[in-house]
Amino acid sequence: MIENNTKKRIHRYLCVGIFLVLAFSAVFVLNLTTGSVPGSVKEILEALTGKAGDSNVVKIIRIIRLPRVIMAALLGGALAVSGFLLQTFFGNPIAGPFVLGISSGAKFTVALNMIFWVNMSKSGSSLAMILSAFAGALLSTAFIILVSGSVRHKAGLLVAGIMIGYICSAATDFLLTFAEDKDIINLRGWSMGSFSGMSWDGVFVSTVVIGITLIITFLLSKPIGALRLGENYAKSMGVNVKVFRIVIILLSSVLSACVTAFAGPVSFVGIAVPFLSKQMLKSSDPVVLIPVSFMSGAVFCMLCDLIARCTFAPTELNISTVTSIFGAPIVIFMLMDRRLDGKA
């Protein structure tokens, strides 16, 4: 029976892994070929190998679609892992990557930037925008870490995060009373997120930031796994809980800050995807869940971006519109599932 259980598990992990690799490849290719100018696999290869294929499709794929799909994959994966970390930490399945006030902090600094500094109408994701969003996200994080030292119970952190959210929203609303209409519209657009206008520079930067963060996260699988039994048991096993709290907050924040900086706050991915991943794997073990959440988040976001881009082409939907339409029912389903079958 014991052997059976282990075998079943490994079998399940393998199936999920193979499914994800296939899904990833299929959605990736679909994203490159679909659009106002359809492309073929042959043209994708030309774009990838960089031979001077001068046809328009190849150019579009190389300059526009490829960076965009890579970013959707990277950022989607990052969001899922960020959500997984916070859910494990708080022991709460609906703690998302933005519960600690990161998106509101970013929105505030972006609004500041938009109104007093940059003329938004020129470019949607200029460097100044990315930097200001990242700075705002990290500012919220810094505040949370400051609070975390003196909060006895981690539920206090959640409250602190929500309060930061309120403060930043209030400050943003205050700013908006003095803003021009176009700024308000732009800010609203930003806060719904979008993967459009991604550049190769962006791909490079986020690959480095997310890559390093993910590697560190994966290497910390063991203490993250111990947290599943709660902080006190983790402490009794030898985890330095005080330090580890800050590490978890930092890691998840860098991931979601990176997403917010490049694509704006993308909702629901961080809550729905880790849930689905756990359900698929029937496991909560970080060693498998970190890579699987990342892959699932990537697939989910690429798919949502494809839908956002193509359903009402040439008009594009905001990414959060699509992720919410798919994500929210999943969250509801998950609550119902809990009620029906008790405990999974």
Binding site: M1, I2, N5, G91, P93, L219, S221, K222, G225, A226, R228, L229, G230, N232, Y233, K235, S236, M237, G238, V239, N240, K278, L281, K282, S283, S284, D285, V287, G342, K343, A344
Partner: protein, 302 residues
């Protein structure tokens, strides 16, 4: 709650000590305890005691609930803490297991001060059963027990053959081979408790700290647990410190019973000496009539 007169003095002393530098030992040595002994430092502590509490005050955030505990626990002893709810049994256990910092004084384990242990170093010596409930997703009983191997596994926490053998041994010892393969969340409270006791054992500790291990267990499993704890003591010479609500069980398992009452530790000693009607009545604040009722109910059943 009343506090002894010297309470504020000691607190002031402690604050002075910690602001002067982080070495509160220095400040500690200056404190003369009521019985006239000054607190010893590490080198004086005899090795035969595996746990020693020296002038220990326990509590939360610097507020002591119980003050000035002096206690020695020998290797292989089974010690039980009895007393009313909220008196501080758990607080003492949490302080001994380094979940809580001492308010004052120190805990020594194998002659070494507790705070000088690295956290994973301590985890190999001392393991813990807490009263708090846990709710981990998608973990089987076996998964939970396996987390007890944490201090022994490598960087990624993968169990090797020896780890699996230890876990299998514990599952067999506790007779939970069927429970171990089921999802933890679907188990009853008593079944969860047995899994968590297994988890504590998987750490292969020299000292086992159990906070109310008998709660949720039915009478058969209570008796089984007593047998298991005795076996652990006789086979592996494990030292066990636990809190119990069932003082009648303390009589058959404990080498030493400590009464933790409203005014701190009121009595400590051999179970046959401590577990007397008068002591119990006073400790729990039971009236004579209530005590008669208790005796009556026991007699009727037996």
């Amino acid at each position: 709650m009343e506090r002894p007169e010297n309470y504020t003095d000691k607190k002031a002393l402690k604050q002075k000590g910690s602001s002067a530098g982080d070495d509160s030992d220095a400040a500690m040595k200056n404190i003369i305890r009521p019985n006239g002994l000054s607190v010893r430092d590490d080198s004086d502590v005899a090795m035969k005691d595996i746990i020693r509490l020296n002038g220990l005050s326990v509590g939360y955030e610097g507020d002591a609930i119980i003050e000035n505990i002096d206690l020695e626990i020998g290797k292989g002893e089974i010690v039980t803490l009895i007393g009313p709810n909220g008196a501080g049994k758990s607080t003492i256990l949490k302080t001994i297991s380094k979940q809580l910092e001492p308010v004052l004084g120190a805990v020594y384990v194998s002659g070494r001060e507790l705070r000088k242990f690295g956290s994973s170093e301590l985890a190999k010596v001392l393991s813990l059963l807490l009263t708090e409930r846990i709710d981990p997703e998608y973990m089987t009983g076996r998964d939970i027990i396996e987390t007890g191997r944490y201090p022994y596994t490598g960087k990624m926490g993968i169990l090797n053959e020896k780890d699996h053998a230890v876990v299998d041994g514990i599952i067999k010892l506790l007779g939970i081979s069927e429970l171990a393969e089921r999802p933890f969340r679907k188990l009853s409270d008593g079944q969860k408790q047995r899994i968590l006791i297994g988890r504590a054992l998987a750490q292969e500790p020299k000292i086992l700290i159990l906070d109310e291990p008998m709660s949720y267990l039915d009478i058969r499993h209570k008796l089984e647990l007593i047998e298991i704890l005795k076996k652990l003591r006789s086979e592996k010479n494990i030292t066990i410190v636990m809190s119990l609500h069932e003082f009648e069980l303390a009589r058959v398992i404990a080498d030493k019973v400590i009464c933790v009452g409203e005014e701190g530790i009121s009595r400590a000693g051999k179970p046959e000496e401590v577990l007397q009607p008068d002591v119990l009545k006073e400790l729990y604040g039971i009236t004579d009539e209530q005590f008669k009722l208790l005796l009556q109910s026991m007699r009727l059943v037996l």
